[in-house]
Subunit: 347 residues, 2 copies
């Protein structure tokens, strides 16, 4: 039986859900790929780092961090505890696949980009759940992976495990993408809906925070930075746009008033924060994120709450849309899990 | 350079669009797969049959049938004209891939099933755009293909080239499908919409026929037989249901009155012909096609005219929906074209 060793950089909610998914599918993976998947490193921000070339006790690591079930919130496996930093793990630990799940730095994509480069330099595969590298350095990383003959996957970076990148690569062969659009930010979607329903802005923010999908500082969402990073990632991969998020024509929902929403409603329309990219005549790609009035009978108008949609227009299949309905953390984990299965198939 | 020989059984609008797509991508296919795709047989109902092991002149065959551009409506390449029947072509002609595009017999799936069996018996790959074989004999054909070590693809049979089967196989790996639902019949969708908009039934039928998507005898659509065949195909492939269309709990829209539609509208709902399959506790799959009231805010309510949707629920990714927006004949052709590319990759 073969082995596939994973180094997990970042082990928050999604990372832990991914760890549970790995454990749940251990036998099925062995049966399907004749390969045992081992986690040989886990780097966290504040809970300690684990490194063990023979495989970390993943069950124990998960139990340690499960405070609700009596875990201490820190790793306790003293045999595996390591003083290596996250970057040192990328550069020195024994693994086959780097799984980048560290927190997003939306302004630079770092240090995630360096982590992935660290893996590629050593001829290791990489999977990223962090959209920073795809938004800020996709073409460089793609070329580096190709040159080194390693695999590079990133399905989770937009709409969790919902197939968007894989859809285009594996199911729309030879079709050329001419346009991409979508509703990709739940926070703004929720706020716009609630404003329309008559809720007060401060109440909305408070409720959204309590439900866990409005951040303590929601500016990144409200001003469209998160949506800009997502459409950039989509356009870099699907249309080889070669752009960075700062090149997106970006307008958030910060200036949208209840009156704007009501006036739109009177005309049978709803306001959504729409992401869009189209190819210009000169071959470059124009990307935008902006509040857009959408006809109430349009499918996009029904994309509510945490539901998201991406529409991909190609020369051969016209417009195909993919909708993710109210995902939870397991759907983020599945994107990474599916990418690991792809690495297993590609070896 | 390698060769891949196709036998096209059926050469109507979709078959001809597929032929044009092949010609348009001849160079790209050679560049990508180092393979020249040849059409070595074309069987039609009434325009003659062509067979030529060195490759038919596809351009000429298309021109012959293009009556608007001066074609005679019958094949003229006397060197290739053949007296073999369609079944004899399947059983005797020189080809690598059988492409089944003959007219659907919704009550039995024949003779398309026999054509495909004819190919498999000879160790040839098969692609079907005809949903009959998938609705009536999927598991038998799948097992036969496996046993013979040949490829068997059928993406076009539901929602044209929109990835549904490939989506699940290639992008939702290890996820178990627990439910499938969708709006899959354009004719009934159009009729229900127009009735709601206040149009008269006879007018609707006349207009639909003029627009080409209501058949001379619309009973197969209106009574839900077409939708039943489609949901059967989906469930056989995605959930290994092992059912036939006559096992679908089927109710068409023939009894829906304008009053039903208005009453639903008063409650904020629209009526759609919804297809659905769920796994029962005993492991079997329950399939239904029936007019269903859908909340106007639901995404399904916005699926209008010739737009279709399939929602696939899995244990790992919850519900993912795929929408095909107002397809034309090229989108049907693309499904077959994509399947040919898959055969090229799998060789």
């Amino acid at each position: 039986m073969k082995e596939l060793k994973l180094a997990l950089l970042g082990f928050g909610n999604a990372g832990q859900a991914f760890g549970r998914m790995l454990l749940d599918h251990e036998e099925e993976i062995i049966k399907t790929y004749d390969t045992k998947v081992l986690v040989t490193a886990i780097a966290t921000g504040s809970r300690g780092n684990l490194v063990c070339a023979d495989g970390i006790d993943l069950q124990r690591a998960l139990a340690d961090l499960d405070v609700k079930q009596g875990g201490s919130g820190r790793f306790t496996d003293t045999g595996a505890l390591s003083s290596l930093t996250t970057m040192e793990i990328a550069e020195q630990a024994d693994y086959d696949v780097l799984v980048e799940m560290t927190p997003l730095n939306i302004a630079t994509g770092q240090p995630a980009i360096s982590h992935i480069e660290g893996a590629f330099k050593r001829g290791k595969h990489a999977i990223t759940a962090n959209k920073g590298p795809i938004a800020w350095a996709y073409s460089r990383l793609r070329d580096m992976a190709k040159e080194k003959g390693v695999q590079f996957y990133y399905e989770t970076t937009v709409m969790d495990g919902t197939p968007v990148f894989n859809l285009t690569e594996h199911t729309l062969k030879m079709a050329k993408v001419t346009e991409v659009s979508g509703i990709l930010n739940s926070t703004t979607n929720f706020i716009l809906e609630e404003l329309e329903a008559g809720a007060d802005y401060e109440d909305i923010m408070e409720r959204g925070r309590a439900m866990g999908f409005i951040e303590a500082d929601p500016a990144m969402d409200i001003e469209g930075y998160d949506a800009a990073a997502k459409i950039t990632a989509l356009l870099n991969v699907l249309m080889d746009a070669g752009i960075t998020p700062d090149q997106v024509k970006r307008k958030g929902i910060e200036d949208i008033t209840v009156e704007d929403i009501r006036r739109a409603a009177d005309r049978g329309k709803v306001i959504k924060l729409l992401c869009r990219g189209v190819r210009r005549e000169d071959g470059s790609v124009e990307a935008s994120v902006q509040p857009t009035e959408i006809d109430r009978s349009d499918m996009l108008a029904s994309v509510n709450s945490t539901t998201s949609v991406v529409s991909i227009t190609t020369n051969l299949m016209k417009k195909v849309s993919v909708v993710e309905h109210e995902p939870e953390i397991e759907q983020t984990a599945y994107g990474v899990f599916g990418d690991v299965l792809r690495v297993l198939e590609g070896r």
